[in-house]
């Protein structure tokens, strides 16, 4: 877009001003609406997407107890499941987080399963001991996702146990990771808490040799994005 500028000594008249105006207006009037509006709004004009977010860094160890009564389908803390008390997002005990609009919750956790203890000093005979964890939440006092997000790891047996001192801690080293993440569409209400339950189980035909497992450190967090404001 350009306008012919007057030369030195030229008179600026009504006609020349109107001519310049017509020239500019013609160009601008040819601009499509979409071209003008496209990419107009950016971080300076648009609000943040995140309404609420919270996270915890856990460095204190949690213990998972093995239980022969383990029930994968249990929807509460029976069937061998128990809460990991450190991994508790509840807005500092204030009753939870307000969700003023329908929206989405993204939640995650990463757990370091560091070691386990056996009833005997021989370690795992077949590597079928398992550590389970489930990331779930409670909204409007109703538990959600209690069954759908369980993950587990197997405790591996030593390959040549006969050569190694049976008291070796190495028998009981696990050092495996359980990471869970999910996205959930929610209605308005109160997100009471997001937390983790864990369980120990034996997946083989004979009974478990495991006593406890240790989750040495881990992370948990969530954020909430309203769908409509």
């Amino acid at each position: 877009m350009s306008v012919d500028t007057p030369g030195s000594g030229d008179l600026i008249t009504k006609t020349s001003v109107e001519s310049m105006h017509t020239s500019v207006a013609g160009v601008i009037n040819d601009v499509k609406q979409g071209q003008m509006g496209g990419s107009t709004l950016g971080p300076s004009q648009l609000p943040s997407l995140i309404h609420t977010a919270d996270t915890l860094s856990i460095t204190s160890a949690e213990t998972v107890t093995f239980d022969d009564s383990f029930d994968e389908t249990s929807i509460d803390t029976s069937g061998g499941w128990a809460r990991l008390s450190s991994y508790n997002l509840d807005n500092g005990g204030t009753g939870g987080y307000e969700l003023p609009y329908p929206g989405f919750i993204y939640a995650y956790c990463s757990l370091r399963v560091s070691e386990w203890l056996a009833f005997t000093s021989l370690g795992s005979e077949d590597g079928n001991e398992q550590v389970w964890a489930n990331l779930w939440y409670q909204k409007d006092s109703v538990n959600q996702k209690l069954q759908r997000n369980s993950r587990f790891i197997n405790i591996k047996k030593p390959t040549h146990a006969v050569f190694v001192d049976a008291s070796s801690d190495d028998f009981f080293t696990v050092e495996d990771t359980i990471s869970i993440a999910w996205l959930e569409e929610v209605t308005a209400g109160t997100l009471n808490l997001i937390t983790i339950t864990a369980a120990g189980n034996y997946g083989g035909a004979s009974s478990t040799n495991a006593n406890t497992a240790t989750i040495a450190n881990g992370t948990i967090g969530f954020f909430y994005i309203p769908k409509v404001v």
Binding site: G42, T59, S114, F163, D170, E175, G221
Partner: protein, 228 residues
Amino acid sequence: MPLISPMNLLSTTVDPQEVYSEGLYAPANPPDSIEVLNGGLDSSNYGDADKTLPVWTTKIGSFAAGFYSGFDSWDFIYANQSFDSDDATTDLSIRVKHSSLSSKIFLPWDASVVLYGFQAFFRQDATQVFEEDNAQYWNAQVDFGGIQESLYTVFPRSRADEDEEWDSGLAHEEYWPYVTKQHMSTSVAMGYKNISMSIWSKISAESFAERKEKLLTPTGAIWILAIR
């Protein structure tokens, strides 16, 4: 978008005030001057539903920014690079930076949350793993705005040599431990940010003399997702 109307000057001579008021820029509702160039977004640009804007009105990256750096060439770190009595150190000046799992990113705006994490296959040479006489193991720390102790990781056994008694029973050569972890920071200020993994090993004096113990990373990635 409204059209700019033709100019119609009524004065008999050129009147600057009239030129301004009639033509070039005269705010009005609806706009009928060059004001229409000032954004071009009005109610007619809204989407079908109330309080919505069509996607084309927003700049890419207005709400979120992501970064991913993956690799599939073998990364080698030798234990002799990190030999020190303080195997649990968090002093990044002496830990070995895992160059394939470290990067510097630019955050263009203040972020409400920054999700970050890594995933990788590891294969390490270490006779034993943890808390044992002559114990040998590798550990990893992730740094994003400071060491994140909650992401502290010890790599499980994967020693290659199963034949010698000293090495036996502790690993499979073909066993590549896979680790994936993530965490989140809130209220992160704009600007350059570093994310890095640092490695440390504890090996015996005998292994140190051999200068063979190493951590191999065949493939992996780090990632960051920032949301305003």
